[in-house]
Symmetry: C2
Subunit: 449 residues, 2 copies
């Protein structure tokens, strides 16, 4: 077995009974399991048997237009991952959480808890919550503007990092004889006083096994990429063609370098929705079965949200109407661009567009044999469009089971993927350094003043 020096990373993006929007209607799924914690525990175990780096949950803070057709975020991700942590030992656990509608102290503490509970396997997908329906659940009449959301996110993460670093690694002494639980000189206030947050600290949790969770990011707008360049250690992204993937990869790595960081310290993980069959024809037929189950009324509502135009009365077999300019989109700018380009470049009708988006809401779908899928992933990896992949099984658990038992072994054969875990933490799997606790920024300023 050949060993490539550079290996890639695989994250399992989990959602209900699968990413395909009609997954719950297909006989390969049991739709009742969307509400069953044991289902998610099994998924984590499947991912761990496949030696995957991590599992991941998206999240949103509104019921949204999914209520009627599908609801995917029944469980709050950190709470759910805690239940999955205790039935696994190695696989990383990445939760999405919003900087828009949380407080840094509370959220930093939750991730510290998850990192303690999982013995160092927590990751945080940092999102700014762009939905108008989310804003309405938190007192806002409209979505806070895009740039302001990223400003808040930056200060939020700064505070969270200071809180995670407010306990030195060796602060907890447990000195029974001397009666000293922790050394107070090694636990510091952070005294953060910024534009949006004022937080004294220290955190009410000792420093966690990873020091801090792995920081993940998934916005691909200009502000999103600059934010990622500064903070992210992994980036989830939707890229449809190799050329687009390469351009995004180059762009982001250059920004990381520009921010004074080692480009290897950020992993680019494009999404991929794999339909696996014994033959290519079988895989494509399976994909078609799912497409045929799509409910157009629901898809039109979802598409309307993506492009900022009400399409619910629009003819299915006509092309998209003219769309508003990018600067009018306050929600997810990068998804808007992806959808617009896809429709224009491939001259799609709305019905065709809906079919293409059904698999993974814009993420790339690949239907083929395990070999073909492995070839595709390797191509993106070799050509520097990806450091690994965000695997989005169209149906669950079957689609994840198939990927880990049929595609992963081929990647292992080729020396592209680990055959055993070599680390115990998510940082370790991703080859990331464990950050040293540092004196809070506010204290450092005071010390040099």
């Amino acid at each position: 077995m050949s060993q490539s020096p550079k290996q890639f990373h695989l994250n399992a993006f989990l959602m209900g009974v699968g990413h395909h929007e009609a997954a719950w209607r297909h006989p390969r799924t049991d739709e009742r399991r969307v509400l069953d914690v044991a289902h998610f525990q099994e998924l984590a175990q499947i991912a761990e048997r496949g030696k995957l780096d991590s599992v991941f949950f998206a999240d949103g803070l509104a019921a949204g237009p999914r209520v009627e057709h599908n609801i995917q975020a029944v469980f709050e991700p950190i709470t759910l991952l805690s239940a999955m942590a205790v039935v696994t030992e190695r696989v990383g656990l990445i939760a999405t959480a919003s900087t828009g509608y949380n407080e840094p102290f509370t959220l930093a503490r939750k991730f510290a808890s998850l990192d303690h509970i999982s013995h160092g396997r927590a990751g945080w997908n940092i999102v700014t919550s762009g939905g108008a329906d989310e804003a309405a659940n938190f007192g806002y009449d409209e979505t806070p503007d895009h740039a302001g959301r990223y400003d808040r996110a930056a200060e939020f993460v700064d505070v969270a990092v200071e809180l995670w670093d407010s306990w030195d690694d060796d602060a907890v002494e447990l000195d029974v004889a001397g009666g000293r639980f922790a050394d107070p000189a090694k636990v510091r206030t952070i005294d953060h006083d910024g534009a949006r947050f004022k937080v004294r600290g220290p955190l009410n949790s000792p420093r966690s096994p990873q020091g801090r969770p792995v920081l993940v990011q998934a916005g691909s707008s200009e502000s999103g990429k600059n934010f990622a360049a500064r903070y992210a250690e992994a980036v989830f992204t939707a890229q449809r063609t190799l050329a687009e993937g390469q351009a995004f990869y180059r762009d982001l790595k250059a920004r990381v370098a520009g921010a004074g960081r080692d480009p290897h310290s950020l992993k680019v993980l494009p999404g991929i929705v794999p339909f696996i069959g014994d033959t290519e024809a079988e895989a494509k037929a399976l994909e078609q079965e799912f497409t045929d189950l799509i409910s157009p009324a629901y898809s039109l509502r979802q598409l309307s949200g993506m492009v900022g135009v009400d399409l619910t009365e629009h003819a299915l077999d006509a092309p998209l109407p003219p769309l508003p300019p990018l600067d009018r989109i306050q929600g997810n700018k990068s998804r808007y661009e992806l959808v617009k380009n896809l429709a224009e470049n491939e001259h799609l009708t709305v019905r065709q567009l809906i079919g293409k988006l059904g698999g993974g809401r814009g993420h790339r779908t690949v239907a083929g044999t395990p070999e073909q899928i492995a070839d595709d992933l390797q191509l993106w990896f070799d050509r520097e469009a990806a450091d690994g992949f965000n695997v989005m099984p169209p149906y669950l658990p079957g689609g994840l089971e198939d990927f880990t038992t049929r595609v992963v072994p081929i990647l292992q054969e080729r020396g592209l993927f680990r055959t055993e875990y070599t680390a115990t933490t998510l940082r370790g799997h991703y080859g990331l350094d464990r950050p040293a606790a540092r004196i809070g920024a506010a204290r450092a300023r005071a010390a040099t003043a």
Copy 2:
């Protein structure tokens, strides 16, 4: 075996390796387990073997003065209880969470998650967060005032209840053939627009097994008792004498009736710290071993916080200095009164006071044989000072193991406590109704307008 028609309720209040402030220094504990999720999973299993109604975690949103001496709230309670839910089947799971520094949407959703994950065993201990150190972690220069905190708590719970009720029980249809996940007519916005919160809803989680978590409350000030009378289904309280316990019980039940509710719909659960021995002398000697491990410097800091006066330089063998009047206390008013009365009535020096408070921060300690402890609990129950107890083992897991294997069987013998679970949910254990989903208050207003 006689069966009493009225039985009582037992909640295990869990904290680190025990409630006694020096527990972690005593040979009966392994102090390293404060950071070990498996320790807490075992505690839940011990409680379940003892057929207890529930386990419970307190919580605070600041490291507080405990850093040096002890830290008890390493884990965020909901996250931790999720990990405990999946290794148990019956025991209730009560988490403390603050109305002061959370948003109703986010918190309602977390409790819905825990209730789904545990199949109907979640409870919420509603606290307003009175600590100045907590306020400083959320942008406040001082603690928001006492009355305002309870006003916020009331509106917070109103919103949370509306969110839990925003999905009808039968909204989720999972109609695979028809392609309808949920019936949109059974999922409603709440359109709450109040003094402090504006929340559209619906919640992004289907109605949970219990409809809503059991609502628990633990403040015993005037505002606290009025809040409890309106909202709480169980109340944790610190009462030191039978007479005080009876007075509190009568007072609270009268307020519940005054609020138009059935007095049985609220369970009064005073705290009790049991030291168990083969003989009374052995139990008292054990208690003394713990008292001897108390670190006075730490206790003085904690006592200072309770009474609103800096006692860190105060002579240990003198009585308390004059204390500020009750209306100057913005934090925990009832604990202030308890400590003040205890010191005055028993003419205690500061050192003696610290010893009395060491077991459970003011809660009543009983040291004796299993029979004596059972007698004591039965007395409080028979004389209408309690509907059950908040059991606070001084050391863990041993103190809980001893209580469940030595005291519980006596209570069962006497027909005072269940020998098997007769329900699967926490509401069931407490004999509480499952609330019917109701139309959100805002909608009801609109409908009658």
